[in-house]
Amino acid sequence: MHIRITAEAFDPQAEIAAFTAGRDDAGALVNFIGTCRAKTGDVAVEELRIDHYPGFTEKEIARLAAETAQHFDCPDLLVVHRIGVIRPGEAIVLVAARSIHRANAFKAVESLMDYLKTDAPLWKKESGPGGARWIEPRPQDQARRAKAEEGRKMSETPIVPGGGRLDPDMAFRPLRVAVLTVSDTRDAENDTSGKLLSDRVARDGHVLAARAMVKDSIAEIQAQVKKWIADPGVDVVISTGGTGLTGRDVTPEALQPLFDKTIEGFETVWHMTSFQTVGLSTMQSRACAGLAKGTLIFALPGSNGACKDGWDRLIRWQLDNRHRPCNLSELISRFTEA
């Protein structure tokens, strides 16, 4: 990160050349150059004077840039800002971002500019034939700044489906999750849905306690799931596959006899969720969930899309102890109470 406050006129192209010199690790360079206008509306501008507060101005601009860099994962930022007396046509500010891909660089430059307009400790005074006046942020600057802040907050807070929320004051408690792939045709090499679920379990902070694969066979499914039910190191079992309507689909028939309680609400919410992706076809799914001796068991379909929907939009949130108004995770210790 390079921050420079200068009372001398600067050449933006030379600054950019110095910023990128000898470096070939980025695929994108985005820059914005703000220049002094000769007119504000119909009023001629003869000069612009920018005051700063030595020390504090540099510190605050560095802070705004560091926050931007961190938020957009775009560490390579350049800010050059003029102070003192500026003539029309001269550059006032240069913000540039180097990044592997363009998307973050575009966003970082735009967002940082929105913050600089209202939050950089600089004060502009415009002088013309009619006298001088101090410039304050315009309502549209304030609006852009508010929108930029909202954008940053939104992307930090995951959108919880169904209007739920995560309690920011609670610490996340990981669960130990076992993933079972049920398939006649898949093997360890092409078990994409089992991999997808396992990756997501870890991505969202839980522990992948075990992973296995069985054929579409009631005996095989039950044998594996019974082992996990008996294992105190497994809190949750998620299976993928065998929930359809064809003759080979027997996962619900295998699991339901093991359930002490069936979670019917899961099926309702699953269909509401899946309907948004596959429409009426969701009715072909017999995805189900239940409790067996305190172990939570979910049976998802075999397709990757269904596993994504099932985890990302449903199971993930109910296994998160921070989810409000309530969740399955916080109930786990009570499933077996007398």
């Binding site: 400790p121 101090w134 410039i135």
Partner: protein, 88 residues
């Protein structure tokens, strides 16, 4: 000694001699906190007082944002008064 810094349009209305004030003089006038200082300035410098009353004013003490006007003033403090900023 307290060092005062007036930025932007506050600088236009603050008299040149206001940059440094002896702490005992402020203490004698009953000034203990940032809020007291702001009140005292408004009384003794009506133009400055009006300018500050007309716009959101931020106080910076020793280069750190002051969030609490009940913060006590100490000898050697540099206190800056900031009108709304306009960078970019």
């Amino acid at each position: 000694m307290i060092h005062l810094v007036f930025l932007g349009k506050f600088g236009d209305v603050a008299p040149a001699g206001l940059g440094e004030i002896a702490l005992p003089a402020l203490r004698n006038a009953g000034v203990r906190t940032l809020g007291d200082l702001q009140h005292w300035l408004a009384q003794h410098q009506p133009l400055l007082g009006q300018a500050m009353a007309a716009t959101p004013t931020r106080l910076i003490v020793n280069q750190c944002v002051a969030h609490d006007l009940s913060q006590a003033i100490a000898d050697g403090d540099e206190i800056a008064f900031l009108p709304p900023m306009s960078g970019g």
